[in-house]
């Protein structure tokens, strides 16, 4: 099958949906400019015109209301934020209005609104341009939250999100944009709320979100060379969660690590750990362990930033601890970093 990047997959999904349904439109700060949101909105202005692809003032709060109002009046807006952090200015609309609109109107009218938000990292993005916060939105009933990892998932889940009659937030990690993968040319849906086994394994389950799947895969390779067969589960959808795929895996392996691309405290990793500890009670051979950002704002200096983020090494070390095995010599491993980014096929 054809190989394309994550970024092109997002772009293709939007184009195909905009061709299919004239009610779909895309907007946000910088959406039609020459940078094209890192390329993900390429060709939209040219193909669909300025009414269906437009720039906005810097006014996240009202622009979110715009999406809600348009959505309940028959359109299917896609609102794009080049950084998740800017979404926080729209928190009132999201938590008080968008999420409860359908419920408050007696379940009669849906809100087919898609919000894309990019998770920043690297080159000193710092603490105002690198949050993820998917758990914050997943906590609120009435919002669907997804974190596609592969190009295929990016396309299929984006299309599902656009067709969904309810609000869907898409969190896209910036480092995934360069990733390539096999993606069908024709339009297809990947259902929301379904997790995926990224790699089969029998010794331990690693539940990973977003970019952490890349780290988990590298960790799994290293572990494999050392005789450990790790299974990796990508929930893909943060809310509603596919609990069963995780429970089934942990029931087999007896061990579970959650590697989330976010802070740990009160985050999605807590949810998964709590759920697994409950549903796999008695089958767990070790406590569920959580991996995530350091509990600090994200610093700018590269070496501190590298400390802030967990990576394959963090995962390997945790697996060693969990399984009680000897420390693996990692001195010859090359880990992903800003300079050594993962750009190949996933």
């Amino acid at each position: 099958m054809r190989m394309i990047t994550y970024c092109d997959a997002l772009n293709e999904a939007m184009i195909q949906e905009m061709e299919r349904d004239s009610n779909v439109f895309v907007y946000g700060i910088g959406v039609p400019d020459h940078k094209k949101i890192f390329g993900s909105t390429a060709d939209l202005l040219e193909k669909f015109g300025a009414e269906r692809c437009f720039d906005t003032p810097i006014a996240e709060d009202s622009m979110t209301g715009l999406g809600l109002g348009a959505a309940i009046n028959g359109l299917r807006p896609i609102h794009i934020h080049i950084r998740v952090d800017f979404l926080l200015l729209a928190m009132n609309q999201l938590a008080n209005l968008v999420s409860s609109y359908c419920y408050g109107i007696g379940g009669k009218v849906g809100v087919p609104l898609v919000i894309r938000a990019i998770v920043g990292r690297g080159w000193g993005q710092g603490y105002q341009h690198s949050k993820s916060m998917h758990a914050t939105f997943a906590h609120i009933p009435g919002l669907k939250v997804i974190c596609p990892t592969t190009p295929e998932d990016a396309k299929g889940m984006m299309i599902s999100a656009i067709r969904d009659n309810n609000p869907v937030l898409i969190f896209e990690h910036r480092w995934l944009y360069w990733q390539t993968g096999a993606v069908a040319e024709e339009s297809f849906e990947i259902p929301l709320g379904k997790g995926k086994i990224v790699k089969k394994g029998k010794d331990i389950t690693i539940v990973a979100t977003s970019w952490m799947n890349v780290e988990a895969l590298q960790a799994a390779e290293i572990l494999a060379r050392n005789g450990i067969d790790a299974e990796i589960i990508d929930p893909r959808t943060i809310a509603p969660l596919d609990e069963d795929i995780i429970v089934e895996s942990v029931s087999r392996t007896g061990h579970c690590i959650v590697a989330d691309n976010d802070w740990v405290y009160c985050g999605f990793s807590a949810e998964v750990a709590a759920m697994v500890s409950d549903r796999c009670f008695g089958k767990l051979k070790s406590p569920v362990k959580r991996i995530g950002f350091a509990h600090t704002p994200c610093p700018t200096a590269r070496h501190l930033e590298n400390q802030f983020y967990p990576n394959a090494e963090t995962i390997v070390r945790q697996v060693e601890n969990t399984l009680g095995i000897d420390k693996i010599d990692l001195s010859n491993e090359l880990f992903y970093s800003h300079e050594n980014r993962f750009k190949g096929p996933f």
């Binding site: 709060d61 009202s62 209301g65 715009l66 609309q93 008080n96 359908c102 419920y103």
Partner: protein, 318 residues
């Protein structure tokens, strides 16, 4: 204008009587939802909604009894919702603060100050996009102009020349805080006028005046493609939330109320009907039919069942 005046009276009478009915029964403790009463603003809502087309759309706040009744004319779903019954417009889930009737053009009411204003803008964007000719009118209090999102919305609506009416129902207070304690400008009119929009202001309790002003706003908007801002003054008769007066609280003098009461919209309009040729008999018949409608609806509400407990979980998604 004769029949318009009758319609305006009917709407205002329906609103006033519905709210008096709430006052009458509220102490029975069956309507377990906080009441932000419309009393005093009937002329504004009736006049504006009366001038809109039936398929134009409106949005409001927690204080939207008047808006709901003016836009829908119906009271069954209304009272059932107040009573928290399954026959209410949202099966009791939304209560007094979140009235809605999407099929009749009331898109939503929100209890977060100013929050429905950008939603109205989105609805207007959709209407323009779909070229369906519908206009949107969003109702909000003067307090909503304190919020940044109001200014963002005015800005973008003007930029995109959206078919939207901003209807500021200005009672001079946000809860108990007068505008002088909230505004760093002397004239709201002047500030909004500096945006690319049409601005109108009225201090009348005559719904016909409001109706004509709204008509003028709509035709101006049609001509120059610019959004309209209507600042319409009124006096809130009752406490911010609840069914009683609150002049003993001391934050506003009762004298103001008495001055406004002399111009009570419902009473004046009733008198006007007489002067423009309606007989007392005709008026009484109209009133009676509204009274009966309300009586039927409250009975219906009281007799309706509560939603099944499992309904708690339905309707989060569609």
């Amino acid at each position: 204008m004769k029949s318009v005046n009758l319609d305006l009276y009917r709407t205002m009478y329906l609103i006033r009587k519905s709210e008096e009915t709430i006052q009458k029964y509220y102490a029975e403790d069956q309507m377990k939802t906080p009441m932000h009463m419309s009393m005093g603003e009937e002329a504004i809502v009736s006049g504006v909604v009366g001038a809109l087309n039936l398929d134009d759309q409106v949005l409001g706040t927690y204080r939207s009894h008047a808006l709901y009744l003016a836009k829908t004319g119906e009271t069954d779903l209304f009272f059932a919702e107040m009573y928290g019954k399954v026959t209410g417009m949202a099966q009791g889930k939304s209560g007094s603060m979140h009235l809605s009737a999407p099929e009749k053009g009331l898109l939503c009411c929100s209890a977060i100050v100013a929050s429905s204003i950008p939603i109205a803008m989105g609805a207007a964007y959709a209407n323009k996009y779909q070229k369906n000719g519908k206009r949107v009118a969003v109702f909000f209090g003067d307090g909503a102009t304190d919020e940044g999102v109001f200014w963002e919305t005015v800005n973008f609506s003007c930029l995109k020349k959206l078919p939207i009416l901003f209807v500021c129902e200005d009672n001079g207070f946000a809860v108990h805080t007068p505008r002088e304690h909230r505004h760093g400008f002397s004239s709201l009119h002047k500030v909004v006028s500096s945006f690319d929009c049409n601005v109108f202001e009225e201090k009348s309790t005559d719904p016909e005046v409001i109706y004509r002003t709204t008509q003028k706003a709509l035709s101006t908007m049609e001509q120059n493609d610019k959004p309209c801002f209507l600042r319409l003054h009124y006096y809130r008769y009752l406490e911010h939330v609840g069914i009683n007066e609150d002049f003993d609280a001391g934050y506003r003098p009762k004298g103001d109320y008495l001055d406004w009461l002399k111009l009570d919209p419902i009473r004046l309009q009733r008198e006007k009907l007489g002067t423009i040729g309606f007989s007392e008999q005709q008026i009484l018949e109209l009133e009676q039919s509204v009274d009966e409608q309300i009586a039927r609806s409250t009975e219906f509400a009281a007799e309706s069942a509560f939603a099944d407990a499992c309904e708690l979980h339905t309707g989060v998604f569609i």
